[in-house]
């Protein structure tokens, strides 16, 4: 596992910091410096609320190397309130069945542990169901 590659994504992984396009106001996540909508330069930071809904989901029974210990786990495309869609794991699901359209919110959790060397633990965003009545 390569430390610098994880270290430089901290703002995105811990705080969903993306960008807003100064030309067309589109909100962008993850940051990419060129607006995917209008092609203009977009470097102005924007913090996402972390609220969204499930656009699609799947429960994985076969995991890639580094995630085998976690199976089965559920991953989703989450459509953020502000527009962009992100790919992430769902967590704290309990007995609740996941459905398309279900409201979710971002939490910071351990994403993987490096079993081979250095003992690095990678943290980042996951999404959990929003309990009815808590908002």
């Amino acid at each position: 596992m390569e430390v610098p590659r994880y270290w430089r994504l901290q703002k995105q992984r811990y705080a969903l910091v993306g960008e807003i396009c100064p030309h067309c106001q589109v909100k962008i996540f993850p940051p990419r410096d060129v607006c995917p909508e209008c092609g203009g330069e977009a470097k102005q930071p924007f913090s996402f609320s972390g609220k969204g809904t499930v656009f699609s989901f799947t429960t994985m029974y076969d995991a890639p190397k580094g995630f085998e210990m976690n199976t089965p786990y559920t991953v989703a495309l989450v459509k953020l309130e502000e527009g962009p869609v992100v790919t992430a794991q769902l967590t704290d699901l309990g007995e609740q069945p996941v459905e398309i359209g279900m409201p979710v919110e971002m939490v910071t959790r351990r994403i993987r542990e490096d079993e081979e060397d250095k003992g690095i633990i990678v943290y980042g965003y996951k999404f959990r169901p929003v309990m009815a009545g808590t908002h």
Binding site: S56, T58, M60, Y61, D62, A63, T87
Partner: protein, 384 residues
């Protein structure tokens, strides 16, 4: 640009070939193609491969293979475009000859997967997706396709069993292909009851891995003729990209790069979907077969499962797909797949497809997909 033909084809059986290395597999397919073309070597060699660096600790496959098959001094490169590496290598060979730069080019697709443990291969396959924003979150390549399939089922109100005909057709056809990994038909109940990988994708939706290699020789139409067999012309070659990550597409259930490369290919070949006699598409997962059919214009959005239910995708149907087993039954040795599709289309156009021969096959289309739809390459071949 001058007109080019497929002068020769070669392939090995897709399998767990424990006793054969990457270069032995690639060499067998390449030498068979050279024999079939009745030539000894070509000036150019393009090797389609995705993960030899990680899976076989071997890169630099151009010189590596040129040396192995007695073609040193030819130019030779590896071409990488994830699961579409095979068609990318084929397209490079077509361009090299069509441009007039070279008179004979060899395209070989090869992948040697059985040397690595499954979890490692799963992680390596996931490098076809965006490492920072997809794979790092624990998603496998299957999971990305499962997200697309779930959304598609939700959007168009299909149930899981409606995808069975794609798998059944592929296995029924693969039963007649001696080069296929699996050569037995399957039943609807074995489809329904197969173990889940990433729901709704189960083992019978997903194409199997395997070791494999396939090859084709490209030559100018004006300089070479095949004696005794129909000539197969390359009527179109087109490639297009889409966003790297699935989540960046406004409509993840529509393969824009497939639509774009297919439209360009139709234009180049001066044909429309109605003229295509068979379609070797990229059924890495049943959902991808459906999306390819729709994006290439063979049915309306969301209606491919209906086309399959009606039997229109079988060899005797309106638009036969996976006629030699497709990725599902022939197998999906990643970087080799695009060249297997070419080889199988050529077999059909030469009337050499045996029990799954499509009647009066004159125009065949192939479509090779890289990533979850981020690179899509379409070819149209014509026999005369």
């Amino acid at each position: 640009m001058r007109e080019v033909i497929v002068l020769g084809i070669g392939q090995v059986k897709v399998d767990e070939n424990w006793d054969k290395s990457l270069r032995v597999l690639a060499g067998e397919a390449a030498l068979e193609a050279l024999r079939d073309a009745n030539i000894e070597q070509t000036q150019s060699l393009f090797v389609g491969n995705m993960m030899s660096g990680a899976a076989n600790h071997q890169q630099h496959l151009g010189a590596y293979l040129a040396d192995w098959i007695g073609m040193r001094y030819s130019e030779a490169f590896k071409v990488e475009a994830a699961c579409s590496s095979g068609a990318a290598a084929f397209r490079m060979a077509v361009m090299a000859v069509a441009s007039g730069d070279t008179d004979l080019a060899l395209a070989v697709g090869v992948e040697k997967m059985s040397d690595s443990p499954t979890a490692e291969i799963t992680a390596e396959l996931a490098t076809a997706a965006d490492a920072d924003w997809e794979a790092d979150h624990g998603l496998s390549f299957v999971a990305l396709n499962a997200l697309i399939m779930r959304r598609y089922m939700h959007q168009y109100q299909w149930e899981k069993e409606h995808f069975a005909p794609f798998s059944l057709n592929a296995h029924a056809n693969g039963a007649h292909n001696p080069y296929a990994r699996f050569q037995k038909p399957i039943s609807e109940s074995s489809y329904i009851n197969a173990p889940m990988i990433a729901d709704p994708i189960n083992v019978m939706d997903a194409s199997p891995m395997g070791d494999g290699a396939a090859a084709a020789i490209i030559a100018p139409a004006s300089m070479f003729k095949r004696s005794g067999k129909p000539t197969v012309k390359v009527a179109a070659s087109a490639a297009a990209t889409d966003t790297m990550a699935t989540h960046h597409r406004s409509e993840p259930t529509w393969l824009r790069a497939a639509e774009r490369s297919a439209k360009q290919a139709y234009q180049q070949a001066s044909v429309s979907p109605a003229d295509i006699n068979l379609f070797e598409l990229h059924d890495a997962f049943t959902i991808m077969a459906a999306l390819s059919l729709e994006a290439a214009g063979f049915c309306e959005k969301g209606q491919a499962p209906r086309l399959a239910q009606e039997g229109q995708i079988r060899p005797e149907g309106r638009i036969p797909i996976a006629t030699r087993g497709g990725l599902k039954a022939r197998g999906h040795p990643v970087g080799a797949t695009g060249l297997y599709q070419i080889v199988e289309a050529v077999q059909q156009l030469r009337n050499e497809a045996g029990a799954t021969q499509v009647n009066n096959a004159r125009i065949a289309m192939t479509q090779n997909i890289g990533g979850s739809g981020s690179n899509i390459i379409t070819h149209i071949l014509k026999s005369e």
